[in-house]
Symmetry: C2
Subunit: 350 residues, 2 copies
Amino acid sequence: MELDDRKKRVLQAIVDDYVATNEPVGSKSLIERHNFQVSSATLRNDMAELERLGFIEKPHTSAGRIPSDRGYREYVDSLMKIDTLSQKEQQEIESRIAGTVDEATELIKNAAHTLSEATGFISLSMSPRLRKSFLKQIKLLMIEPGKALVVLVLSAGVVKDKIVRIPNFITDEQMMQISGAIEKNLTGKPLDEITLVTVETAAKDTEIPSALLRQVLYEAYTAIKQADQLSIYLEGEHKMLAFPDFSSMGRARDLLGTLSDSGMVAGYVNEMENQAAVSGKKDSYMIRIGQEIALEGLDDCSFITATYDMGDTVFGNIGVIGPKRMDYSSVISKMDFVKKKLNEELKKLT
Amino acid sequence: MELDDRKKRVLQAIVDDYVATNEPVGSKSLIERHNFQVSSATLRNDMAELERLGFIEKPHTSAGRIPSDRGYREYVDSLMKIDTLSQKEQQEIESRIAGTVDEATELIKNAAHTLSEATGFISLSMSPRLRKSFLKQIKLLMIEPGKALVVLVLSAGVVKDKIVRIPNFITDEQMMQISGAIEKNLTGKPLDEITLVTVETAAKDTEIPSALLRQVLYEAYTAIKQADQLSIYLEGEHKMLAFPDFSSMGRARDLLGTLSDSGMVAGYVNEMENQAAVSGKKDSYMIRIGQEIALEGLDDCSFITATYDMGDTVFGNIGVIGPKRMDYSSVISKMDFVKKKLNEELKKLT
DNA sequence: TGTTGGCACTCAGGTGAGCCGAGTGCTAAT
DNA sequence: ATTAGCACTCGGCTCACCTGAGTGCCAACA
């Protein structure tokens, strides 16, 4: 079922107008704004057809039409043309991202911040997926009796650390020994191939009493595992309250309530990424619209995410969450540009 | 100007009722709920007097009275009696805080989380003020050419680190040398006594070419300074949307908008703490009500904070932000208990 | 077959009148 | 100092009404 040309134009015009005005758009106002060379009655027929096909819907009988989720979907998939950013916008974004910080995590958050400022929506950033990155260094640093710091240096220039408890009477030299042994045997291994067993065998030719050893190794292991946990960072939640789309308080509460469970959101974004990966259609961005989003309270939102890249199969996501009634073209072009700049900066860091 | 006994009771009853019902309270309903041994007309006289004195006010002519900021102030200062928590509540809180994590930062966030859950309000936690804490260890760890990790171990068991850039051709041994020299000379110094000069003199008897040295020392210095920066963590913002007090969307937006600038909030809490310190009346908690709060959009809120303690004059704050129409007694008792448990746990960590 | 003008119908939202009731201030009596 | 009584206020609710933008459908036309 293909839409004929005029119907496409009609759908496009409806989305554009509705996004711009936040009012259901009727056949008459459609004629006024766009110069279709036909009468309003003809458009009414087209609109009836579009409604039958599920692209648009009526809030109530005697109102204009608004795009349905499917209508937005059609719009982003084949109707819209992506904006190019003005020089000024590009500069604005560039100056915020370029050369600001030396650390990947900060850089990524910074990019997300820029994105939120540029779009006026909520921005999100996911920490890099480190499963596939490999260990470049691991150090156990004695802090005080019973307490040590595990420092991991991963490929892609990421550093993680964690304070752990260790047996009280372990000595500084013993720790150095363990540290050295682990490092020697684990360096170069991808994180997802490191198991408790790997860690234990890595340290088996030290002369530390095994009771002591076990606990230290276990803590080192959990530190490693913890390093590849995904975390998400959201910013600009309050901006959603400014949109009439969420003026009903109930919706606003549901939305912010769901977003406050960052673990859930992170899981969802992760799943989006995975699905995109298996489906093979790895676009430069991913979009989920309205009900397509399997999170409570996000029916009126859209998710748009992109992937940033840190080399060595290490990557993560940045994105925005906005009302589904948004200017997709503008948002996507902004996100694309931010992503590009972010990737450039990340490359410089390695 | 002292209130006579009955007027005190009237004010107290008005606050209690208004907090419970969120409706302006009138003379008649006051008689019904509380057994004053006088007529409603008498109460009306009292209420007129209380209004003249600024403790209560009318939303409009023909409505009951609601407490003014000053009324709440009088209430918390001299009228309310602090609840004691039920066994069950105590256990609930205790089980969430006790023995959960090994790291101070996590523990504090966790306490704040518990507080938000227990009260249903926004909770806040400030990072410990480390200016007065002293350096127990400082290590420079070579990560890769051009990049190093500065690890600081402070008294009170806090560990901070930062990735810094260093000259590319500096060697591992040179780093160790610098690291050793700094550590030897700076250990035991309070953070606020460490300046760039201190750091530079600490390393002056190494044999590293001074051009290289300078950059490393500078980076080490910024890492140290960065360690005592205050940071704040807010949680549960979305919960405020559930209160009728913020149902007007405009207010909600102002509130969340202001809170999204965490630097500003941190600065404010810090200032509160300082003022309490100089005024000398160091209570177990601090309260700011309504307009007393010098932050935009918080006119309808109250801040309640307490101080946690990590020994060695290192301390920070936890607290809640809720509608000023809140059950102060219950909130304060909860916060007090959480604070107590947090302090106990922090003590165990050192 | 696609397009058009015309017409009856629908319905959300705004307006204004009217009523209700909780609450007040004031006054005169106790 | 307290109380009973009374006139007055005013926010909020309900109801009826109107308006206007928009629709669906039909008959006519190219």
